[in-house]
Symmetry: C2
Subunit: 242 residues, 2 copies
């Protein structure tokens, strides 16, 4: 293994995003290109809800391992973004406005009864990764946010243009995210560039981002398999009407 400069590490991280981020997944191309049925969009939002709902648990798990008060303070803003300052203003609440807007019963969404098992495994693997790997790897696993402003922009434009059942208001979640993601991913990227000092640590950082990209990809695979092709919905998972 060779030692990378901080700039080379950043280039290698961005290259992983260019090749592995779920923006490239066929399901997202269908979703953003207006090719999904309402039921497929519902299935996406319902499954993604579990990911959203576990993000503060993931972030608190990271804070719980961090001995540096300044890093904890910075990471705390992620908890505020997702859980909000009140019951209606966090990312989770905004995601539920999306599932509401798509006609899903809120109690059903929150119950997780319709979740694809593969969604649960992928999300739970993320939380476990953050709890068990080094703090550096836990931070690095958040770096998919480097790439999220682009996918969100494509998603907003594509979904608003294509689906009569999607409104700007139901997509309020995505209005808020890009500036948060830029702030958070800048911090995490600087942290990794500063703290990944050995070739081994740099490889761990790269592997953590690959792991995270794989996790988001697996969630898309499960959606595609169940709801697009071959449309094999696992027993008990959400089944669109009609």
């Amino acid at each position: 293994m060779t030692q990378l400069s901080p700039a080379e590490l950043e280039t290698a991280l961005r290259d992983i995003g260019a090749r592995r981020y779920h923006r490239l997944h066929p399901f997202h191309k269908l979703l953003h290109g207006g090719k999904c049925s309402m039921g497929q969009v519902q299935a996406w939002a319902l499954n993604r809800y579990y990911y959203q709902s576990m993000i503060p648990i993931k972030d608190a798990s990271l804070i719980a391992r961090c001995e540096d008060s300044a890093v904890r303070r910075e990471w705390r803003s992620r908890l505020a973004d997702h859980d909000g300052e009140g019951a209606d203003d966090g990312g989770i609440a905004r995601w539920l406005r999306l599932t509401d807007g798509l006609g899903l019963e809120r109690d059903y969404v929150i119950s997780l009864r319709g979740l694809l098992p593969a969604t649960r495994f992928a999300v739970d693997a993320y939380v476990q990764f953050v709890r068990e790997k080094t703090l550096l790897e836990a931070v690095a696993s958040s770096l998919t946010e480097l790439f999220s402003p682009q996918i969100i922009s494509e998603r907003m434009d594509g979904m608003l243009a294509s689906y009569s059942f999607v409104t700007r208001e139901t997509l309020a979640y995505f209005d808020k995210r890009p500036p948060q993601a830029v702030r958070d991913s800048n911090f995490a990227l600087d942290y990794c560039k500063t703290n990944a000092r050995t070739p081994e640590q740099q490889q761990q950082v790269l592997a953590a981002l690959e792991f995270k990209c794989g996790l988001l990809w697996a969630m898309c695979d499960a959606l595609h398999h169940a709801y697009v092709d071959p449309k094999e919905i696992p027993p008990g998972a959400f089944t669109p009407d009609g």
Copy 2:
């Protein structure tokens, strides 16, 4: 086991505080009564720093286990109280102003090199308790804050009156705590009264508070043994000058 009403549970919790809270410990009577030497006050502040520094890790560990966004949001204020909004305004920063004011080198305090081993074990046991017991027990273990406004008031009055080396400014930590403790302990008490529904859960809540009182008591015992009577300082632990 009998089922207690919520009011009976609160009475039983307050009774534990009345009998077991470290306000009753001989070391605190010396500290607040002006009977400690400067070195003994330094030893207290130095050891207590480790407790303070681990509180956000304890609280993030609790948030990391909590599936209820509203409870996470409420508990998040504890992280803000201790880590602050900036580098100088949290509870940990204020505690370091106390150790500064007592003439301790900040790097030495933060290094934990002078810590009594028993302090480390007690504090680490608290973090483990919050990580491993039920969420209800984790919440209940915070309930010593029901009793902290009184001890803080006694401490402020007693220390300011008795020690020329203690000023209102160095005690700034304690100025902030009582309203935070009242808010936090009210929430935690309500949580326990609402969520401890079975006799078994009520006994768990009571035992969690006993555990926490025991932990604070053990920290005082260690200080007393090392620095008051029989003044047997463990090898490597902080040794006052002169």
